[in-house]
């Protein structure tokens, strides 16, 4: 059970999210358990978007008039907020569309110039396709080889062979938290050893920035990528943290307007980072609203967020255990101290898609499938799993609704 004061806070938090005031088409309460895919947005974020478009919509960086100056200030202020949220300096935060684009930026701008034939790129077996495919393509372009830190059948990373895997390793790119199993990578063990081996370190923070207190300096990451839409902000905006010296040494990724200092017909010089990596008109409104989202999260407190999710995951594990006799099987480490608020499971021989469809009739939103981790699924021998993921607005009653809906699915499928 969660402490009553904690639950009350979660219920108060829920009131900040307009979507929860609307019933589903079947008249059910919306029980949103898919925040690992994308989070809901608080009113303040929605209002920030609205305010920008109503009051000071203008292009940034070049305008001399009042609303352009206001837009530029808000845009750069948002960068400072997002930087502070992860312990970085504003000059080390590059706006991207999302985590995927941030990783691609590294793979092209840094990878093309720093990775050579025969170099090793070390990943783990639980990576999201976004932290796998860009490295496959980089390996194809350069002749580098991919290596993988294995996962065991509980979804825990196996570090026994880490030294051998790190030998000759140019780059380590690793998810901080697995979106499929919730596994939290032991970066405090892995990163120092990768550093000692001379590897450049990329952390996929898509599932950690929203859920854990993150300090990129303490993590000692060279790059850290994350998406606003998973942390109460809008879609279409994300960020890449990069150490200043690295960002300075890298060539541009995309090129064109805004990222230049001076252009002649046959050549150009480039702006300083982070603007060097922001070609064309930026996603101004969403960047500003991302700033509001991190303000909101800062006020809740990342430590509270983590503790709330830990408590709700523990409660969910406890309640789901009662369904074990009916064939419910939860995957992953199953230790709330070692996982984020993500639970992957299957119900007897019922396909995850059917589970999700039946849960949907009760207003319970979960995800079913491979969660963009097809190689992990194949390795584990699962065709698909159902996944429930928790966030700041979830409370015990959401877990209770999940359990009731799963009982309905078990009843329909006679398991």
């Amino acid at each position: 059970m969660l402490r009553p004061s904690e639950m009350q806070k979660a219920l108060r938090v829920r009131d900040d999210f307009p979507i929860f005031t609307r019933p589903t088409a079947r008249g059910k309460r919306l029980v949103y358990l898919d925040s690992a895919a994308t989070s809901q947005k608080p009113l303040c974020v929605i209002e920030t978007l609205d305010e920008y478009y109503r009051e000071y919509n203008a292009n940034i960086h070049r305008g001399v008039y009042e609303i352009a100056a206001r837009a530029t200030a808000a845009f750069e202020e948002a960068r400072a907020k997002v930087a502070r949220f992860v312990g970085a300096d504003p000059g080390e935060i590059v706006w991207t569309r999302n985590t995927t684009e941030a990783i691609n930026l590294i793979a092209y701008a840094w990878g093309n110039t720093n990775v050579r034939a025969g170099d090793a790129i070390l990943l783990t077996e639980l990576e999201h396709h976004s932290n796998l495919v860009p490295w496959q393509l980089l390996a194809q372009r350069t002749g580098a080889v991919l290596r993988f830190i294995p996962v065991d059948k509980n979804g825990t990373l196996v570090l026994d062979d880490l030294d051998r895997l790190l030998d000759g390793c140019r780059l380590l790119s690793i998810a901080h938290v697995s979106n499929t199993l919730g596994t939290i990578s032991p970066l405090e063990t892995i990163v120092p050893r990768a550093r000692a081996a001379g590897a450049t370190i990329v952390v996929d923070g898509a599932q950690s920035a929203p859920h854990l207190p993150v300090d990129v300096k303490a993590l000692d990451a060279d790059f850290y990528a994350f998406s606003a839409h998973k942390m109460l902000g809008p879609t279409g905006i994300g960020a890449l943290y990069g150490k200043r010296a690295l960002l300075e040494s890298m060539p541009p990724f995309l090129s064109g307007g805004d990222m230049i200092r001076a252009v002649e017909y046959d050549r150009a010089t480039f702006n300083d980072p982070p603007w060097k990596f922001e070609a064309g008109t930026s996603n101004i409104a969403d960047a500003i609203a991302f700033g509001t989202a991190v303000d909101y999260l800062t006020e809740l407190g990342p430590a509270w967020v983590r503790e709330h999710e830990r408590a709700i995951t523990a409660y969910a594990l406890e309640r789901l255990a009662a369904l074990e006799p009916r064939g419910l099987h939860v995957y992953g480490p199953k230790d709330p101290a070692k996982t984020g608020g993500v639970l992957s499971f299957n119900l007897a021989d019922v396909h995850a898609h059917d589970v999700a469809s039946i849960l949907d009739t009760e207003g319970v939103c979960i995800r079913a499938g491979h969660h963009c981790t097809m190689p992990l699924m194949r390795k584990m021998g699962w065709h698909s799993t159902a996944r429930a993921s928790f966030y700041v607005y979830n409370a015990e009653e959401d877990v209770d609704a999940l359990v009731t809906a799963l009982e309905k699915a078990a009843h329909i499928f006679k398991v």
Binding site: D349, I358, T361, H383
Partner: protein
């Protein structure tokens, strides 16, 4: 959607008909639903008169995709290949007999899509994938 899971659907899901492989299929095709990773393979035995003499399917998927594919294999036995190639989605909708939500339509139609591509490929003389 919860009405969908009638007994006969669950029966086809748990005991799919014509499930498995043919020794020497005349035509075959395979596809997956990239959304959920469901995967279905269809193998056909066609006689010299162009009639479907045997069909087997294999793969994995949700109740909707497997039951739809299973029922489809029953519908086409003895059918001229030309007709198989022209099947519309109504055959699936009639088989399942209950409304399928738009989000699951892809699952329901996966077997039909694979079957038709096997039939059309065979009629057009595409090289078999094997």
């Amino acid at each position: 959607m919860d009405d969908f899971y009638r007994d006969y659907i669950l029966d086809h899901y748990r005991n799919p008909r014509n499930f498995g492989h043919l020794d020497a299929p005349t035509a075959s095709a395979e596809d997956l639903n990239p959304l959920c990773g469901d995967q279905i393979r269809m193998e056909l035995q066609i006689d010299d008169g162009g009639i479907v003499r045997a069909v087997r399917f294999s793969g994995n998927g949700c109740a909707i995709s497997l039951a739809s594919a299973s029922m489809l294999t029953e519908s086409i036995s003895g059918m001229p290949l030309e007709d198989v190639a022209k099947l519309s989605k109504d055959v699936v909708l009639e088989n399942v007999g209950i409304g399928i939500s738009p989000t699951r339509m892809k699952c329901a139609m996966l077997g039909l899509r694979v079957l038709k591509s096997a039939a059309i490929g065979e009629l057009a003389g595409w090289p078999d994938e094997e």
